[in-house]
Amino acid sequence: MEPDDFDWTAGPLGGSDGSGGPTGVRLAEPAAVCRTVHKTYMIGDKEIEALIDVDKEFPAGRVSTIVGPSGSGKSSLLRILACMDRPSSGSVRIGGHEVSSLGTRRRRALRRTAVGYVFQNPVDNLIEYLDATAQLKLAAKLRGRPAVPADLERLFDLLGLSHRASHLPVQLSGGEQQRLAFACAVIGRPAIVVADEPTAELDSASADRVLQAVHDLRAEGVAFLLSSHDPRVVATADHLLRLEHGRVVESW
């Protein structure tokens, strides 16, 4: 399969096909699946096992939280699920496609079409010289979707950013930046949105609004995978995966 053969036909967030969910993902099926995933790093001459036999399904239209202490393997798992890295062994399927053996170019194509990623620091998720509308348009076009004004307005309304549509990132608060980042991540309706501690840089009120936004967006049928130390994130999650020393110690 060529890189651009992944086709995640958009729903209301990126051109409706009437399915209500991302193409390739039946909502009854998990958006992402990990099977006996192993990840080993080399630190000097020493091998470090970051992930050991991780098994987990991440359903579409749900918020899944990955928790664990520092060094437990959360970020490693997120990078693999975001198609930025490959597991050393095991299987990872996103939207029914096996991605663990894909080459760099195909994983890149998947990132473009099927994966949204939200960095921890809100400013890292936005391009400093584009206003909020342009950010969304760019995200949509990179995903190969038309930036339909109605969709953008709906997203802005959903996230409470309508009055900020023409503002530059520097004119937004941290919470607004992070909500806009989630809007960019879900536009074009990817299979999953991966967020690495999305509330870590925010104050309590802003974090609450971001989490509310995530829950509002899950209705679009996108699977959200959030890593966090924040108990509020855990409290709002539909599913949870707890890692310690690379192993799954709790999963529901």
Binding site: D5, G20, G21, A134, R145, A235, H239
Partner: protein
Amino acid sequence: MARASGPPAGEPLPAATPPRRPGAPGRRSGPRRGAGVWLLPPWSRAPLLAFRAPAVILAVLGAAAILACASSSAGLFLSSAGAEALHRMAAADCPDATYPTIQGYSEEQLTPSVQEQGRGSMTGAGLPGPYQVLAPESPIRLTGRAASGSAPDAAVNVFYRQDAVDHVRVLSRGPARGLWLPDSLASSLGVRAGQQLRLGKASTIPVAGVYRELSREPVQPYWCSYATLFANTGGSIVLRPLVLATDIGTVNAVQRAQLYGMTNYWVSPIDPTRLTLSSARALNDKQAAAYRAFGSSPPDDLASRLSGTGQLPVFTEQAGLIRSGLRAPVLPIALGGTLLALLLIGAAGSYWADRRAGEVRLLSARGVGPAALAGKAVAELAAPAAVGTLLGWLAAGWLVRSLGPSRYVDPGAPARALLVAGAALVAGLALLALVAGRRARAATEVTIGARRGRLAAVPWELALLAAAGGCYLALRRGQAVVLTRGVAQVNLLVVTFPLLFMAGSAVLLVRLLVLALPAALRRPARRWPAWYLASRRVTAARLVTVILLAAATMPIAVGVYAAGLTQTTQYTLDSKARLFVGGNSSINSVDPLRRTPATDRAGTVVTRYQYASLDGQRVIVLAIDPDTFAATTFWDRRYADQPLATLLDRLRQPSAGGRVPALVVAADAGHTPVQDDQLRITLGHSTEQLTVAGVPRLFPGRRLPLPMLVVDAARLGQVDPHAGTVNELWTRGPVDPAQAAVVAQGARIFDIADLVTVFNVANFLGISWTFGYLSALAALVGLVAIGGLLLYLETRQRSRIAAYALGRRMGLTRATHLRSLLAELGTLLITALVLGTGLAAAAVLLVYRQLNVDPDRPPAPLLTVPTAALIGAGIIVVVITALAAAYAQRAADRTNVAEVLRLGA
């Protein structure tokens, strides 16, 4: 916060369409990859985005300027060198030596049509309007009238140039047309201005004037090319009085009366100070065209004709040789400089990726590939790079015009240099895109903790050292300097060997040093906080340290190497000339010279006997004055195996049997010309008994490859005047007082030998210019290293500032931090200075003996330490360390500590 604002888990949702079959066309509506990305804001706005990061613009602009300067300077330099070689040769000759000339021998009258044909040939070929010179090929006989009534006659040379009379000292003037006689001739013929001279049997011609004989006047530049007509510079021709014709009609009148051969010259005056090789070639072509139009062929031996005029083809050929000889070493140097500058461009690309890390990482996370991001980098940086290229090209032109060799270059050279700079820009942008793309890929796509590639562990510098070894062996088998038709051309290996050797050794040494760095820095770290901070920074970024250390070592090594070989070569050439002459100059006379207070002030009197023999073998005897000799002559302990004072003492020592102590200098150093201590030599018809007082390897004043005996002049008896005696006054100072001291004794000067007469300086220009260009490369590498240092400081600024902010919270003082910066940068740069100097010394020691420009002439190359270059390198290192530390400290001082602590490093 409420948990279930979305659909509950497990709730059925509208079914999605099944995945599209592989290869089936997808529905796409917007640009997202390939050429389409160029319409998206990060690309469409790219040219303006660069202005958001002025530091990146400056880095790229500077790097592109250095690249353009390095790549385009070679052509300009070669062109300038060709021009300068021409200028030097022209300056060493008569002012009109370079003037295009056509000439033709004639025994017939010069009709107006022939005159016009000559002039028209020159102007028709595009040459400036010529002046005409008629030079004698055979004499005429003039008859005068003495007071006694006799009719003395004389064979004279008749010369015509329109304004010749304006350049003589007029003693008396007569009619406007006729012949001007030198005063001695007028006197001997018994005629005055206005009187008639007889030409042949029936014709007469008036004496137009009498002028001071030119041989008794200082030679004016005007007469330089015609000096053979009145001064016995050739030494072998019979000089006849020079008679000046006022006009061509007078010349024709002479020719009507007597069979008389003349060479006609049409000479086009040009400005030789603005000549370039291409303009000289164009002039030569025009000269050839003028010859063709004149219906004649240019003579093969222009240089041997009337001295001076028309030698431009000879100079052009020689200058062309010098330039082509330079090309071999200069082009690889320029290539090396270009490659180094490309590294800086690559570093600038990396710096861009660093400064735009946030956007690059975001776009990469959204699936934008490295090619698109590389294109974005190029789109952002192409304009500053183009401006930098233009500036670099202008700088190259300015540098060549300012620093030489000449401020004049061929008219087409700047355009060609711009083309080269443009090609380098394209290569630079390609490299910049490559580096930016790789850095962009590393932002999200490189597997963390992947095994280190085997290639990274390979000491590839060993390949450089192996290549250097091969070059060195080839250099030892061949010659470092080749003389092609008298022009010294530096072997390419003299340049490539040290560059490969020093680059390979620098990287190897730095690699070994960095391996040992942590252990070396451990102990002092406990004693001094600044040193602790410095050592942590250095060891924390070992790779960067290696690169920076190697980058700083190279310019120092190349610079010291170039300076070392330049000074060694120049000193050796100077020594060869001084050994030949004896002092700086030698005033030579055939008349006896006495030692006087004036000669003592000027130098030392030496008598040379050129026709001496020892057991039938020709030898030279040099009779010196031991009291004044040492203060005047050239003596260097490195070529001499014994102290001069010891040798002179031996000449003064009494000897048994009245034998004169003598120093014996072999024809070839190392060979003893005599087996016996007691010598009997023949000097013309006289003989002398000598005893060998010493056998020095070399001795000043040896001008022929013959054994030489040196004796105390005062102890030598009466010598046969037919022993080929030449009396010389050697001087270390200016020539004029020495000349005056000789003239004051009534002695006639027939020759002055000085250092310039030993070697044709222009022939050795290529050597100094080669090393001069190598020095320029060193300066360029230094600029690259400084650029690298600035990028090093910039890219590490964030972590440095974060550490500073935290350190300040823990009580770190500003002074301690500044000291730590000085220690960090000082350690790096001083280590580079030591390594660079050591490598240069090793390379010079390996090469300098090969660089014997004239092996037949002693001494062998004398190693000379480039003290000024070493001191300069040390000062530069100190200044750069101080400035760079101040720059980094200033950046740290401007930091908002709270902001840094909030955002993190």
